[in-house]
């Protein structure tokens, strides 16, 4: 993956923390996806400004014990883009 790409949330989606479900969710027309902890953490960094590389270094600094975090993040970006949750530009 080109780590210079900048991910941004699909403008038709909204991400928010849901207390009742204890997780982040993505809301879109008539639908909702529950995000697991790592997906929530990664997507919370997607702000339309930071590149994939920025997000990797940010999360790697916050979670130094997690091995292979860069790969996990890249894989998530690929899935999220295939699902149209994010756009990579």
């Amino acid at each position: 993956m080109n780590r210079d790409l900048i991910p941004s949330l699909n403008k038709h989606f909204r991400m928010q923390w849901e207390e009742a479900q204890g997780c982040y969710v993505l809301l879109y027309p008539e639908g909702m996806v529950k995000l697991n902890e790592s997906a929530g953490l990664i997507l919370a960094c997607v702000d339309g400004q930071q590149t994939v590389a920025d997000i990797i270094s940010d999360l790697a600094a916050r979670f130094p014990d997690v091995e292979g975090i860069a790969i996990d993040i890249e894989e998530f970006m690929a899935t999220a883009s295939a699902q149209r949750w994010i756009e990579l530009a």
């Binding site: 009742a20 479900q21 969710v25 809301l27 879109y28 008539e30 639908g31 909702m32």
Partner: protein, 375 residues
């Protein structure tokens, strides 16, 4: 009243603001007895319902009806929903929408407007909605919705009289720049059940429409998303209705009746009203919401069926409407002894060919007449 702690939060709130509607679609899923429920909730009642639902964990909110735009307080309710953190969807025929309201609702915080179409053509639309002006207006409003920055979701209810136009329907949606398109076959509840013989497509029609839809998907892998909903009569297993009774879906009808499914009003249960109880009491403790939770209420063949965790025995409303007993298996299931009811209905519909002349149109007056004839 009994508590079942297993009750998960109602993630979805459907606010049916009114049964009033300028159109008369014969496939409408509103209850035929709707005229008996004409005392609508006030703005403050709805604001309280929104707050209570959000507290219980609801995140998705649908404003529907009838035609929700008939309510002049819609903008106020949308603003309250936004403040509470709902993702709010307006489900409308587009009649009553204006450029001003499209923009005003956006400013109030509405997330999405779904416009439903009767067909891709003027004439069929007029036949099916009872209005000859609606189609052109819907087109104009679809464009307004798009340019105001909403995601564009178009909904087409399919049946015998429009299903052969699926290619033109998809083309129309694509020309309008839709993001999602629902090609939803009629579900036979309410008015649609009355008109079943006139609306049910043939198996050949259905197969053709699915092929057209799949072909379009293959040619346009990055295009708009098409959702094709088959009519369950042609399936061998029922739909997992509402993902299980009282599991994630809560509807509040115009008169305040709280329902686990928007077609449940006709079931022989005492449904609680939001005028009398708060939503938490209704959701967790009311007999009606607990009636078909879990699996204990089931009869055979569902009770010992390994598939019950997938479909929950199907739709309670359909079981009741067709077999007279809401605890039976949904007769769509081929394991049900009553599957014959479905096959007979399909056979009847397939040899019924009047070209739409015997359709019963949905209206409050027709509902009053039906109520009068029942009493």
């Amino acid at each position: 009243m009994e508590t079942r702690p297993s009750a998960s939060p109602p993630l979805w709130l459907l606010a049916e603001l009114t049964y009033r509607c300028p159109l008369q679609c014969p496939y409408c899923s509103n209850p035929v007895e709707m005229a008996a429920a004409d005392r609508e909730l006030a703005t403050e009642d709805w604001q309280r319902v929104l707050r209570e639902a959000r507290q219980l964990g609801a995140a998705q909110l649908g404003f529907s009806g009838g035609e929700p735009l008939v309510r002049q307080d819609l903008e106020l309710l949308v603003a309250e929903a936004r403040r509470l953190g709902f993702y709010s969807n307006l489900i409308t025929s587009g009649v009553g929408l204006t450029h001003e309201r499209v923009v005003g609702l956006r400013e109030a915080g509405l997330d999405h407007i779904q416009i439903s179409f009767q067909s891709a053509e003027d004439e069929v639309s007029a036949l099916l909605s009872g209005s000859s002006k609606a189609f052109a207006h819907k087109l104009a409003m679809a464009e307004a919705v798009k340019s105001a920055g909403y995601p564009m979701v178009l909904n087409f209810v399919l049946h015998r009289h429009n299903i052969d136009q699926v290619d033109r329907i998809i083309q129309l949606a694509s020309d309008l720049g839709a993001d999602y398109v629902e090609l939803a076959n009629t579900q036979y509840h309410g008015w649609a059940l009355l008109n079943r013989d006139e609306l049910m497509p043939s198996r050949e029609q259905l197969i053709h429409a699915e092929q057209v839809t799949n072909a379009w998907r293959q040619e346009n892998p990055d295009g708009m998303r098409l959702y094709f909903v088959v009519p369950d009569y042609y399936e061998e297993r029922p739909k997992p209705c509402m993902n299980g009774w009282g599991q994630m879906f809560l509807a509040v009808a115009p008169d305040g009746m709280a329902l686990p499914c928007h077609s449940a009003r006709g079931l022989p249960l005492q449904f609680p009203n939001v005028r009398d109880f708060d939503l938490e009491t209704i959701w967790r403790h009311s007999d009606a919401f607990n009636a078909y939770r879990g699996y204990d209420w089931m009869q055979e063949p569902c009770r010992s069926c390994p598939e019950k965790e997938r479909d929950f025995g199907g739709c309670r409303c359909q079981a009741f409407a067709l077999t007279g007993d809401p605890t039976q298996a949904d007769p769509v299931c081929t394991k049900s002894e009553q599957r014959g009811l479905i096959d007979t209905a399909l056979a009847a519909a397939n040899c019924h060919a009047t070209g739409g002349t015997s359709l019963m149109y949905r209206s409050l007056q027709a509902s009053r007449d039906i109520l009068a004839s029942q009493s």
